[in-house]
Every structure is written in C-alpha cells, then in structure tokens.
Amino acid sequence: MRREIPLAITFLIGIFMLVDFFVPHHVVSSSAEEMKQWGTIIIAASILLGVGNLIRVHFHKIRRRREGWGYSITTLAIMAIMFAFGGPWGTIEEGSAFNWMFLNMQVPLQSTMFSLLAFFIASAAYRAFRLRSAEASLLLIAAIIVMLGRVPLGQLMTRSWPEAVQLPNMTEVIMAYPNMAAFRGILMGAALGVMAMGLRIILGIERSYLGGEK
C-alpha cells in the first residue's frame, strides 16, 4: 500500500489536470485552481525537507569521515551561522547581519566562481578548438563571427563593409536562422520527451520519483 496509494494519487491528480486543460467547465477549473494552490504550499514545505536532507547528508559524511568531510563541516557551520543571525534579527531588514553577509560574502564569492569560467573557456579553446574536420572548421568560423559580432570591436572592424556582411549583422543571421532552427528541433524533441515522461508518471510506469528502488 505504501506504493499503491501514491501511485493512485498521482494518477487521479494527473488525469484531472489533463481534463482541466480540455474541459472549460467552472467546476473543473475552480478545482484545478485550488489544486495549483496546494502545489505552491507543498513546494514551500519541500524547502524545509531540503534543509533537513542537506543536514542529514552532511552529518553522515562527517560522522563517517568520507572524502571532503571538512567541506561538510564548513557547509553546516555556515548554515548554522546564517540561521543564527537570520532567526532573531531577520533576513530582509536593511543593515541586518544576514543581509550584510549575503550581499558582501555570498554575492562576491558566487560571482567569482562563475567568472572563473572565462579563464577555463579560454584555456580549453586554446587546447581543443582545432580545424580537424570540415564540421569543426564550420563551427570555428561561426564561433569567430559570433564572438566578434557580439562585441563592439567587431562592429568597429567591419563598419566600412557592406551592411549584410558586417559582423553584428552576420551574427544576428547566424543566431536567428541556423542556431534557432537547431534549437527548435532540440526543443521539440525535449517536449516530446517531457510528454512521454508525464504519461509514464501518470500511468505509474515511471516510479523512480517514489524513491526506494535501486
């Protein structure tokens, strides 16, 4: 019954939400609206679940001295500090310790981590972007046009050229046609996949979300 009841709930709610999409009757739509609000509440509650799970995972890692357990101590300590300051003195008040730590510690640290990508991308491009085949050459030429066309330097370099072959215009053409066509194909494939997965979940074929299966 531990599996059958969740599967039945999933089936009934899933089918009902599908019915709501096709049946514009106010009884159906008002019930569906109510359920959407339940969804918001459940998602809010799941954040607490996430915090609990984070503590559990890192606590086990520390207790068993698994690789990188020192980082787990840091994670839990920082979380405890943020809780300690955020609880009594609030999180949103201007000048509060929580807000100060967020803006002056988390923001620059995360921005720095993301900025490191520029260094690694440059190094990777130097080592891996080779004209080994016709496809790679095509990709490289498109990349160079887009890289230059996306910055003012590209505009400056080609401003005396005919308008159609100025780098910013060529970049827009690449983005709006070949790139867009390829992404549209990917999106359609992904959408079909999502629909198939949705049906599998509603019909109880896909059960991994219930957990407990190896």
């Binding site: 609206e33 959407k36 609000q37 969804g39 918001t40 459940i42 998602i43 809010a44 799941s46 954040i47 999180t91 949103i92 807000n99 967020f102 803006l103 988390q106 923001v107 620059p108 640290l109 995360q110 921005s111 981590m113 993301f114 900025s115 520029a118 260094f119 991308i121 440059a122 190094s123 491009a125 130097y126 080592r127 972007f129 080779r130 004209l131 490289l140 160079i144 890289m147 230059l148 996306r150 910055v151 003012p152 330097l153 590209g154 505009q155 400056l156 910013p168 827009e172 983005m175 709006a176 790139n179 867009m180 992404f183 549209r184 999106l187």
Partner: protein, 281 residues
Amino acid sequence: MSWAEKVLKVDRRWIFLAIGIAVTIPFFLPLGLPVITTPPVQSLYDAVDELEPNAAPLLLSIDYAPATLPELEPMSMAILRHCFEKDVDVVVMTLHPAGYGLAERAVLNAAEEYDVTYGEDFAFLGFQPGVSAVILGMGINIRNVFPEDAYGTPLDELPLMQGVRNYDDIPLVISLAGWSAAEAWVYFAYQPYRQTVGAGVTAVMATDFYPYLNAGQLVGLLGGMRGAAEYEGLVQHPDQGTRGMDSQSVIHLLIIVLIAIGNTAYFMARRAKAPSGGGVS
C-alpha cells in the same frame, strides 16, 4: 622539442594571466567602443517604452542568483531606470531563493535615483517557491500567491496594486534569469494566459531563446552583458554593461588569437611529425 610543441604545451597559467590582464586593463583605460542596438533588444525597449505612464504596472521578475549577477544586474538597472524615467509603475518579484536580496537591492538602488514612492510607483513582492506553480497561480490571482508584499503589507493596501488582479492587468512581464525561469514564464504565462513576456538572460543562454523570439512568444530579448549595454545605450544611461563591453571586446579578440596560435602550432607540429614528402596525414 620544436617551437610548435612548446607552444602547444604552454602552462595554462600563462593563459590565465593573459586573460586576467585583458579583463582588467580596459576597466582602467576604457576604449569607449560604440555599441549598436540589435533587433531583439530594440523590441524589448519598444515594448517597455510603449507602456502607459502611471497605469498598469510592468512585472519585473528578477530571477538571477549571485553567480550571474554581473551579466544580469546591469539589465535590471537599465530596465528599472527606463520605467522610472517614463513614470511606468513597476512590480518586482523573484522566483529564485537567492534572488531576494539582489532584486531588492536593484529596485531600491534604481529608485534612489528618481523621485518615486514605494507602493505608488513601485512595489517589491519578494520570493515565493515553486516556479511553475507561482507563475500559474498569478494568472488566476496574484493575491493567492503573494497575499502581502515583501515587507508584510497586504497588496490591497498598496495604491499601485489597486485593480491589479492577474495577468489581465499587467501589460508586460520581463524575466531576468540565469537559469530556466525565463523559459518558465513562456511556458506558464505566455502559453496559457497569452501574457506578453520579455527576457534577459546570460550570453551563453541567449542562443536557447531564439526559437521563442522567432515564434513571438518573447517580445524581446537581452543577451548577456552586450544586451545590457545596448539597453543602457537606448536609455542613454551608460553603466556597468557599457563598461564591461570593452573588457569583453578584448577578451573575445584574445581568445580568437589564442585559437589561431593553437591551430598554427598544431598543424606545424603535425607537419614536423609526418614522414618526409608525405605531407600532412
């Protein structure tokens, strides 16, 4: 070891150093390169520019986290300045748990530059978890999802929110996101409610959004720091985005030069290794 092989095996820390210098110098010695406006940015600007002053508000969803802040915060500042300059009312919210402080900072910083009043000209709703549920819920009634603003004031007590019930009363939503939130606005606000949606995303994400732009599901698109710089140019308020374009120009050029050097060395090394008279294999 030949010259080409030495070049191919160069310590990557030299590349890091070159990138570091190339990023930093333009901040101290600005090149002042001009930024031209591309159609997706112009479309978004026009959509904001056409909004009625002191009428139905624009909904700005600042859905970015600190990691993507350098690219996306210039966009939020430029859009907020545009609205405040034109007396367009703005409602700000976030779908990202780490976006709360950043959204608040952006709207308060922009508001400081203009003669605008909280509750009358702009409001901050804060954060609600559950991306799709929030967007869908707001289509029914914003008060179901955000009964109060971020500071605990019921929405009915904010003059700005009088008569604003759902997307029927919001002419334009703009999502600035470094993750899939902007797509969620297309899926759950445009598709079921036909809400006009615009987006600002990181440069690497911009390519993913052209299908939505082409299909008319997005009214306009700002892509990366370049998009922010273009918007700053349109509102005639150059700031972080415009400043960053010089660095980005130099970096892109440097990467192209590095690729050229890498390929030259690669082919020279291959030629040197090939049997004599055999050419490149």
